[in-house]
Every structure is written in structure tokens, then in C-alpha cells.
């Protein structure tokens, strides 16, 4: 073999470097991280043998489940359809099989109780400027990486502090707080279905509205049952891609879409929220497809909220959503034909207000939770008399937000934790 000269060596090296370096793989890869990176399915798992040995005071037999051979049961509440052997705990962490019977462990033991403005849910077309008595129990059937309430949604019922409020007590407490509605919220209310539906029935008998704030991952049968007592819902459509649903939320898209169809068919007022997560849900084409589906299957009247993302929980290495992206999505959705499109988590944005879809006049101006301008007469636009979809009540002078919750009976701590009361009810 002939020895190479110094010049040949330098020329060869330079050529090699030049050709190698002209191919830069990184930008191309970076743009496709969302499909390339990490696990593709983060759905929760059934916890084998994790059920408590004994039931506690806040246990209640499951509403809709099937008994199988060998004392196994199948939960029928959500699309996971957990097949539980005796001693197993469901994906949602709050249901267990004890000797062949399915029990919910979240009946009368909410871990979060607050009075919130209805606009905070967000529900913009339902009883504006009223208060919602909001409750949540531990557990969730999804595994959203950006969960705002992961401390309770990803916890088992015995791991969190709770108050004792059985269904009738919830209704009484809601009345005392001056709330017109009870909101089942914060975690996933579907997982405390029995507690929610029993409370909702009593609430309805007492003239209090029931509001569901959910990710909508529920089977048709329990949803139909719930619709009988439900007045409004806000369902989070987390993205319009099954791939992203599995990756970021641990669930499938289609059951959520079915939930929207059922609510629509049952004539329950609902609003749709879509959290615009940068790099995942900020795809304009996907937003357009979502709007097309909404128009085709639900019509133009259901309000759609595009919410701004902030780094949270495990999804904490992404930047917030640019406001212009939300503005663009709002314009896009309205151009597609959706009549009421809002922008959330952005103070002072035009997308916080309601404009008549017919005459374009400002109907409701929202400064945060305040409504300085209200141009509806009952359910009609004051200017052109067009019916505005929603459940409306003239906002009168109501008590300001911030009333205290009083007379909550008892505080229960998880066995191994603290011995202090979390709610001081004296003041």
C-alpha cells in the first residue's frame, strides 16, 4: 500500500470533515421530539394485592360493575374497565375488590373543599358570577404529566387528609356557603362516581345545580345516569391526537369524544377546554381538525376555551404557551365556525369576553372574576335579541367571594400522618 503524502492527508481530512458536517441531524430530530421521545403509553396499572384488608367508613359498593368467576369483578365506570381479582386496586386508585365485591373508597371523604367562582372552572355560559361549592376526593383514572392537582389525583384515598361530608352534608354546606352550584372537580370526579351521583340527586332536590369538571374518560352507561342530574359540565379535551393522549395523559381519545356526543345528545350544557401545551398541542392543523370535529358532531354553540399552559408537575421543562398562539387558535376556531371561543389563564385578553355571535356586540366583559358589563336579557343578546347558548341568570348584587366554609363536621387524617385538624371551623 502506497504511503499517503501530507497534502493528501490534509485534503482527505478536510473533505471528510466538510461532507460529514454538512449533515446536521439535530434540528430535524428536535422538531420531532414529541413523537420520538420517551414512553408512548403512560396508562396507569392495576395494583395487585394493594387493597386494604378492611373497608373503612367511607366505602361504598360500586355503582356499575360485573361479577365474574373466582370473585373477580370488572368495573364499568370508565373505559379502563379494570378487571380486579380480590385484593386488587383499580387504575384510578380509589376502587378495590374485597371478596368479590367492588367498593369505592371515596364516599363522603372529600380531600379538597373550596368555594370558587364559576368562571374559575371555567364555565362562562353557566350562571355567571355565582359561586360553586367545589369538592374532590382522591384518585384519577388518567396520568396527566401536567396535572395541577397531582397531590390528590395520584394519591390513594387513605394517603390524604380529608373532611367528612356525606352527600346530604355537602348539600347543606353548599347552601350555607351561598353557592348556587356544587362542582365535582379538581381530581377526576368520575372516580368518585357513587359519591357524586348521590350528592347530585340530593342537590337537585334542593334546587342546587350540579356541575361536572372532568376529563370525560367515562363509559356511556354511567354517564347517561349522571346526565339525569347534571346541569353543566366542563370537559377537558386534552388534545386531538390519540398518540398524545397516551403519551401525556395515559388514556385514549375516542372515549372522550364519545362523552361529548353523549352530553350533546342528553342536552346537558357543556364547555370544552383545551390546554395548549407547547410542542404537543400547539399544532394549528390539529386545532383545526379538532374544531372541524366539534362543528360536525356537536355544532357551533358549545364554548371552547384555549388555556395557557404553565410548567407543572412532571411537565416542568417546557416553556409557557405564547399568548399569540392562543390568540391565533381563537381566531382559527372562530373562523372555522365555533361561535364562542375563549382564551384562559391570560389576564386582560380580549378572549376573556363574550361577544354576540350574531351582531358581534360585547355581551359580557370579564375582568378576571368580575363582570363590569353584562348585556344579556335573560338568555338573549340585549342588542339583537339572538339567543345565546348557555344557562343564564341575571347577575345581581351577590355576596363577594371569599365566604368561609363553616360547620364542616370532622377532619380525618390518614392513619400514619398528622394529628392536627386541617380546617379550623371556628372562624
Amino acid at each position: 500500500m502506497k504511503n499517503i503524502s501530507r497534502r493528501d492527508f490534509l485534503y482527505g481530512s478536510a473533505a471528510f470533515i466538510t461532507t460529514t458536517l454538512s449533515v446536521s441531524p439535530f434540528p430535524a430530530i428536535a422538531k420531532n421530539w414529541k413523537s420520538l421521545s420517551g414512553p408512548t403509553d403512560i396508562r396507569g396499572k392495576i395494583l395487585k394485592g394493594d387493597a386494604p384488608e378492611q373497608l373503612w367508613k367511607w366505602s361504598h359498593e360500586g355503582f356499575l360493575y360485573s361479577k365474574l368467576d373466582n370473585h373477580k369483578v370488572i368495573c364499568g365506570i370508565c373505559p379502563h374497565r379494570c378487571l380486579l381479582a380480590p385484593g386488587d386496586r383499580s387504575v384510578c386508585l380509589s376502587r378495590v375488590n374485597i371478596d368479590g365485591t367492588l367498593y369505592s373508597l371515596t364516599y363522603g371523604n372529600p380531600c379538597a373543599v373550596h368555594v370558587d367562582p364559576m368562571e374559575k372552572k371555567p364555565l362562562f355560559h353557566f350562571m355567571p358570577n355565582t359561586k360553586a361549592f367545589s369538592i374532590a376526593a382522591a384518585g384519577c383514572n388518567m396520568r396527566c404529566l401536567n396535572c395541577q392537582n397531582w397531590e390528590i389525583s395520584q394519591a390513594k384515598p387513605h394517603e390524604v387528609r380529608h373532611v367528612e361530608l356525606f352527600p346530604a352534608d355537602v348539600v347543606s354546606a353548599a347552601k350555607r356557603s351561598g353557592s348556587q352550584s356544587i362542582a365535582y372537580t379538581y381530581t377526576e370526579p368520575i372516580t368518585f362516581f357513587e359519591y357524586m351521583i348521590d350528592t347530585a340527586k340530593i342537590a337537585r332536590e334542593n334546587g342546587i345545580y350540579n356541575v361536572l369538571i372532568s376529563a370525560g374518560y367515562i363509559n356511556r352507561a354511567p354517564l347517561l345516569e349522571l346526565c339525569k342530574v347534571l346541569d353543566a359540565a366542563n370537559v377537558n379535551l386534552k388534545s386531538f391526537s390519540d398518540e398524545i393522549y397516551l403519551k401525556l395523559n395515559g388514556a385514549h381519545l375516542s372515549p372522550v369524544l364519545n362523552t361529548f356526543k353523549t352530553l350533546h345528545n342528553q342536552k346537558v350544557h357543556f364547555e370544552i377546554t383545551n390546554l395548549v401545551v407547547p410542542g404537543y398541542v400547539d399544532d394549528a392543523d390539529m386545532a383545526k381538525q379538532m374544531c372541524e370535529w366539534i362543528l360536525k358532531n356537536l355544532g357551533p354553540n358549545y364554548p371552547l376555551h384555549f388555556l395557557r399552559f404553565f410548567p407543572k408537575y412532571k411537565l416542568d421543562r417546557l416553556p409557557p404557551t405564547p399568548i399569540s398562539t392562543l390568540t391565533h387558535f381563537r381566531e382559527l376556531a372562530m373562523k372555522e365556525g365555533i361561535r364562542y371561543v375563549y382564551v384562559g389563564n391570560v389576564p386582560d385578553h380580549e378572549g376573556n369576553n363574550t361577544y354576540c355571535h350574531h351582531c358581534g356586540q360585547l355581551l359580557i366583559k370579564r375582568n378576571g372574576y368580575f363582570i363590569p358589563t353584562y348585556n344579556l336579557e335573560k338568555n338573549r343578546c340585549k342588542f339583537c335579541k339572538t339567543i345565546i347558548p348557555g344557562v343564564w341568570e341575571e347577575p345581581e348584587k351577590r355576596e363577594p367571594y371569599g365566604l368561609r366554609i363553616t360547620d364542616i363536621p370532622e377532619v380525618r387524617d390518614p392513619p400514619r400522618m398528622i394529628d392536627r385538624q386541617i380546617l379550623n371551623t371556628s372562624g
Binding site: 373550596h114 397531590e151 421543562r317 416553556p319 398562539t325 372574576y369 379550623n424
Partner: protein
């Protein structure tokens, strides 16, 4: 000729030492940028690195004896391979992170441990392999070649690498440029190990050319490898204190520090809360201090008409980027930017303020924890006017206060309550602590309205988000029995450690049990002299970490001082090893005496820290570090000599030293300090050394005297 070859091998050892140390620092920094930027990640990275090094040491002996006996040519190939490997190593950590884990998500302890272990595997093993393999190359030529000399040369390389990186490269070049700079000499010296006739063959040019191309390629792809999936990379700089990148997505600029978004241009809620909650409580604030600030805060501050706003930021790169991209607004004549550690600034200034706002990330690191301790609050109190206010914040919660967070808030509440008569916590995206000696009003919108200040977020959302009920629930849930957070006993770090595990639904128990079992198996298999090296490696690394923490507590985070400490702890090894190799007396006895000296040093450290505190001069810590590393360096040749100084002894000694250092790192920073505090951590290391004395001085093995 033979002597020339020996020198060539020694040169390879020195340059490998330089390259290894710089690569180690770069890997630690890359891991911090890709994962959580806390001491646990540093400890995990060093632990994996040192363990792999220890395994590599053992592999070298096995390969030399059974497969490929060490020769100069083979060592040359190893060197060339080692020179190119750091490029792949850093790219692997940087790029595989988003392949293995979900883009944008944080990762739990076990996933980080496994990822770093696998990512560091090739280089860690190779670097551990290279050192004894170099020695075997020399020993095959002259069986009596002293292993200590290789140890000393490696240490010399490490010291040079540490100094070069900490005081030169970090200021001047990017990570991949640093890799090129430190590996070119290794490439050259490795190449020169080939016999001259071989060096003229084309295939050998290719062997040299490939690593060189890889090294250059690393630089050219560097910026591209940081391109975000969302938007574009507007700015990138690896500063002394970490990686700073600015991402531009549409009109939004977000500043990332070590991979986490910290400031963005459109976060009005946090800006208003941070500024107006405290300033609304002061009728006519004139002079205030920000310890770190972010987007839109200065715009809000301006509404209060202050005369002076001192803004302290440790990292000058951060402020330059904040101003450059409009992440913070300058108010000419009002804002006074001070580039200094906030705590160090307060300790050295006489200024008195109406308000001090601490706007720092969560206290997940010891460095940040210093701004949430009793001593810091006492320092702040001395710089506040009679009716002045302190405000700081920590991560908030939406609807439920979890138990670890309740403990964290309780600890903070109990700590700060010792210095202020009134402490109010306001819930929200962040929980704000307002601390004052006069009563604090909860009705912030009303206070702002009285001052004629208009806000976009507080005026419209406060009453709905911060109901009296939510505020009362939070303040009434404080557990008064939770320990206070102190510099020497950082209770918050412990809580944050467990909160981290809870967030990822895991527990540290499995890891701790696994480490104890592995450690137990290893300790059963090693000889007494190896245990001395193991325990000394453990104690010296532990001491280094204790000194770094103590210096940060007393002097603030001063980059050059930390670099100096690390260098001193490496610097004593070389003269120590030289002294040990020249000792002609009873080696076993001297081992015991040195153990005793290390115990004495640690006792001095405890007494000095307990009773000297802030009065201690920096030179105390430097002298402590120098003597600790002298002792450590001195013991190596003694133990090696007692073990026979053959192939096996050399590999085992190198392993024991590295594995001991690995355990020392992990034990001290991840377990002893967070759980027991600095003083008890030092006592723990004393206990280990006492065990070492007991084992060596009570044994009756026959030593192979050389």
C-alpha cells in the same frame, strides 16, 4: 529508548488525567442541565463515575492477564479512543435524554440513576481501565516499576485538569471546545506511543484522523444539539454557574437555567404577586432589595415610585440576558445591579431597606437553601427598617396541601417566625411569605387601590383565587413542631428530597438497601489495606463536600473559592503520595497514624464550625483540605506497598480508592447532610475512620514487604 517509551507512557497518564477530570466536570454539568440541578444528581453522577472507574480498574487486570497483555501500541489505541469518547458521551447524555424520556418532563431518581449509569458506562469503564493498563505496560517492561508513580502522575493530571477547567476553560470556551482543547494533547501523546515505523502507515493516519474529526465535529454540532422542539434557540452560554439558554417561541422569550424554564416575558401574575404583595404593605417604600428578579417585575416596582432598587444576581450572564431579551426592564437611575451572592452581599453591606424580596427557585439545592435558613432571616432582619418587610416564595398548590409540602411550609414558617412578629402566607401559583413586625393586611387589592396602583391580575383575580377561606386554611395548617431550617441542619433539603420521590411515586429505600448490600459484599471481599483506602477515599470526598457546603454557608457562593477548594483537595494527593512512597519505617503503623490525623482534622473541623462559624477565615478550610488530601495521598503508596505492589495490588488499590470516593460522595451529600446535618455528617465520617483504625491495627496478616 526504553526510558523514552516510559516517558511517553507517563505523558499519556498525565494527559489522560487532565482529560478525565475535565470530562468528569463536563459530564456532571451536562447531567445537571438535563436533569434536576441539585446535589443529589451531582452525587449520583460522581457515584456512577467512580464506581465505573473502580470496575474499569478491575477489568484492566483481567484483560491484561487473560486476553490482551498491555503494550505501548494497545495503550496508544486506548488513548486515541479515550480522546474521542467524551464527544459521544456528552452528546449521548444531551440527546438520548429526550429519546429515553418524554420531552419536557422531569425524571425521577431511579430513572436518572440508570440513565447516568448507562450513559457514563463506556467512558467510565475506559478511564478506569486506562490507568492500571498504563502501569501494566510499564511493569511488563520492568516488573518493579512503582505503581505509586502512576498514581501520582494521574493526580498531577487531575489537578492540572481541574485548574485548567475551573480557572481558564470555563471562562473562555464551550463544552465541546473544552473537550477538543484537553484531548488534542492526549491524541498527540497517544499517537506517539505507536512505534515510529507504524506511524508512517496510512491506516495509522486514519486511526489518528478519526478521533480528530470527531473532536472537531463536536464543536460544529454543539449549538444545533441544543435546538428546542418549541421555537428556536435565541441564546446559549455555558456559564460558570450553569447552562443558560433562551428559547424564542413566537413573541415569547423564555430563559432556561440548566434546562428548567425560570423566567419568561409573559408572566404578569407572578410579577404582580411578587412585587405588590409586600410593597402594598409599606406606605411610602423608598429603597428595596431584590435577590434575583424576573420579567415584568421592574415595571410593577416602578408603580410604587421607589428611589432605589438594588438588584442582586449571582450570575452576570443572567442579568445580561434578561436585559438583552427584555425579560427585565431597566429603570435608569433607580435600578442598581449587583453581581454577587445575595447572602454574601447582605453580610457585607450596611444598607437598610424598606423591603427585601427574595425571588429564588425552590430550595432543592444547598446553595439555594441558604436563603431560607434562620441565619439568613436574621441577616435580613438587620437590614430592614423598623416597619420593613421581607417577602419570599415557594412552590404553590392548587387545591390541596400535601403532607411533605405542609412540612416544608411549616419548617419555613417556624424558622422565619423567630425573627418577625407577623408572618402571613398567601396561597396561589406560588406561596408568598410576608414577614413584618407590624400587622399585615390580607386585603391587598384594597391597599393597592388606596395607593392608586392599577394591576391586571391582582385587582381582578385576587378575591376569587385568594379567598379568606383559602388563606386561613393554609395559615392554620402549619405544624409548630416541625424543626426549623438551619444552615448546619438543612431540614428543608430533607423534605424536598422526599417530596421529589413522592412526585415520582418512588422511595429511596430500595436504593439505600441496594447500596448497603453492594457495599457489604465489596467490604467482605477486600483486604484490610483496601479498607483503609476505601475509608480514606470515602472520608476525603465526604470532607470535600462538607467544606464546600460550609464555605457556601459562611462566605456565599463564590465560584473561584469553590474551584480553589476542589483544586486543594486534589492538590494534596500528589505530594502525599510522594511522601508515602519515600517512607521507610513501619508502614502499617503509619497508616494508623494517618487515620488518626484524619480523625483529628475532622474533630478540628467540627469544633471550628461549631464555635468559629462566620469568623473562620477561608484559609482554615484550605489548610483542612490540603492536609486531608495529603493524608489520603500518603496512604495510597503505603497500602499498595503492604499489598505487594504487583499487578493485582495496583488494580485493587485504585479500585478501593475510587469506590470509597464514590460511597463518600453519595453518603455525605445524599444521606448524611440532608438527614443529620453537617456536624453529624462529620461525626459519621469520624466513625468510619475509627473503624479503619480498628481493622488495620488489630489484624495479624503477614504483609508482603517490598
Amino acid at each position: 529508548m526504553k526510558r523514552n517509551n516510559d516517558r511517553a507512557v507517563i505523558r499519556v497518564v498525565v494527559f489522560t488525567g487532565i482529560s478525565a477530570l475535565v470530562t468528569q466536570l463536563l459530564i456532571v454539568r451536562e447531567c445537571i442541565a438535563q436533569f434536576q440541578g441539585n446535589e443529589f444528581v451531582i452525587a449520583l453522577t460522581l457515584f456512577n463515575w467512580l464506581i465505573l472507574g473502580g470496575v474499569g480498574n478491575r477489568l484492566a487486570r483481567w484483560i491484561d492477564q487473560r486476553w490482551l497483555p498491555a503494550t505501548a501500541s494497545r495503550l496508544a489505541l486506548v488513548s486515541l479512543f479515550l480522546a474521542a469518547l467524551p464527544v459521544f458521551e456528552i452528546y449521548a447524555i444531551r440527546c438520548l435524554r429526550d429519546v429515553v424520556f418524554i420531552h419536557g418532563s422531569s425524571v425521577g431518581f431511579y430513572s436518572i440513576l440508570l440513565f447516568i449509569l448507562l450513559a457514563c458506562l463506556p467512558y467510565g469503564l475506559m478511564i478506569g481501565f486506562a490507568l492500571p493498563y498504563s502501569l501494566f505496560t510499564l511493569k511488563h517492561r520492568a516488573s518493579g516499576y512503582p505503581g505509586t508513580l502512576i498514581y501520582m502522575m494521574d493526580n498531577a493530571g487531575n489537578v492540572a485538569g481541574g485548574i485548567l477547567f475551573s480557572f481558564v476553560l470555563i471562562y473562555l470556551v464551550s463544552p465541546f471546545q473544552a473537550i477538543l482543547v484537553v484531548n488534542l494533547p492526549l491524541l498527540a501523546t497517544g499517537w506517539l506511543l505507536f512505534p515510529p515505523p507504524d506511524r508512517r502507515r496510512p491506516v495509522f493516519y486514519l486511526v489518528l484522523c478519526m478521533p480528530f474529526i470527531i473532536l472537531v465535529s463536536g464543536i460544529l454540532f454543539e449549538t444545533a444539539s441544543l435546538t428546542p422542539a418549541e421555537g428556536e434557540l435565541a441564546y446559549y452560554k455555558d456559564s460558570r454557574y450553569g447552562r443558560i439558554t433562551v428559547h424564542k417561541n413566537q413573541e415569547l422569550y423564555t430563559l432556561f437555567e440548566d434546562g428548567s424554564p425560570v423566567f419568561s416575558t409573559q408572566n404578569i401574575a407572578v410579577a404582580e404577586e411578587t412585587v405588590h404583595y409586600p410593597l402594598s404593605q409599606i406606605e411610602y417604600p423608598r429603597c428595596m432589595l431584590f435577590i434575583s428578579a424576573q420579567g415584568q417585575m421592574m415595571t410593577e416596582v416602578e408603580k410604587h415610585g421607589l428611589k432605589t432598587v438594588d438588584y442582586v444576581e449571582l450570575n452576570p450572564e443572567i442579568t445580561s440576558v434578561l436585559f438583552k431579551f427584555g425579560l427585565i426592564r431597566d429603570i435608569p437611575g433607580v435600578i442598581n445591579v449587583i453581581h454577587q451572592d445575595g447572602r454574601s452581599y447582605l453580610a457585607n453591606t450596611d444598607k437598610i431597606y424598606d423591603a427585601i424580596i427574595v425571588n429564588l427557585p425552590e430550595p432543592t439545592t444547598f446553595q439555594i437553601n441558604r436563603f431560607f435558613t434562620d441565619r439568613f432571616f436574621s441577616l435580613v432582619k438587620r437590614h430592614l427598617r423598623e416597619n420593613g418587610i421581607l417577602s419570599f416564595s415557594t412552590q404553590g398548590f392548587d387545591n390541596y396541601l400535601s403532607e411533605p409540602q405542609r412540612q416544608k411550609l411549616s419548617s419555613l414558617f417556624n424558622t422565619v417566625s423567630g425573627y418577625f412578629k407577623h408572618v402571613l402566607m398567601l396561597p396561589g401559583q406560588k406561596i408568598f411569605f410576608l414577614c413584618k413586625d407590624q400587622p399585615i393586611s390580607m386585603n391587598i387589592p384594597e391597599l393597592l387601590s388606596q395607593k392608586g396602583i392599577h394591576t391586571r391580575y391582582i385587582s381582578n383575580y385576587y378575591y376569587g383565587n385568594l379567598t379568606q377561606d383559602r388563606i386561613s386554611q393554609l395559615n392554620e395548617q402549619m405544624d409548630l413542631s416541625t424543626p426549623k431550617n438551619a444552615d448546619m441542619s438543612p431540614h428543608l433539603i430533607k423534605i424536598m428530597f422526599f417530596q421529589w420521590f413522592e412526585k415520582h411515586s418512588t422511595s429511596p429505600k430500595g436504593f439505600i438497601i441496594g447500596v448497603i448490600i453492594l457495599c457489604g459484599i465489596y467490604l467482605i471481599k477486600i483486604r484490610r489495606e483496601e479498607f483503609v483506602l476505601f475509608s480514606t477515599g470515602c472520608t476525603t470526598m465526604g470532607s470535600e463536600i462538607l467544606v464546600i457546603f460550609a464555605v457556601q454557608i459562611f462566605f456565599g457562593y463564590i465560584y473561584s473559592q469553590i474551584g480553589l477548594i476542589v483544586t486543594i483537595f486534589l492538590g494534596g494527593l500528589f505530594p502525599g503520595a510522594w511522601l508515602g512512597s519515600r517512607w521507610q519505617g513501619n508502614k502499617k503503623q503509619l497508616l494508623g497514624w494517618i487515620d488518626g490525623m484524619l480523625i483529628g482534622l475532622m474533630l478540628t473541623f467540627i469544633l471550628a464550625v461549631q464555635f468559629g462559624g462566620v469568623r473562620l477565615p477561608l484559609v482554615f478550610f484550605l489548610v483542612f483540605g490540603l492536609f486531608s488530601s495529603l493524608g489520603c495521598g500518603c496512604q495510597f503508596p503505603l497500602a499498595l506497598s503492604l499489598m505487594g505492589d504487583n499487578h493485582s495490588a495496583a488494580a485493587r488499590s485504585f479500585s478501593a480508592d475510587l469506590i470509597g470516593a464514590a460511597f463518600g460522595t453519595l453518603l455525605t451529600s445524599a444521606i448524611l447532610i440532608p438527614i443529620f446535618g453537617i456536624i453529624w455528617a462529620a461525626w459519621g465520617l469520624i466513625g468510619l475512620k475509627c473503624l479503619s483504625i480498628l481493622i488495620t491495627q488489630t489484624g495479624h496478616e503477614k504483609y508482603q514487604q517490598t
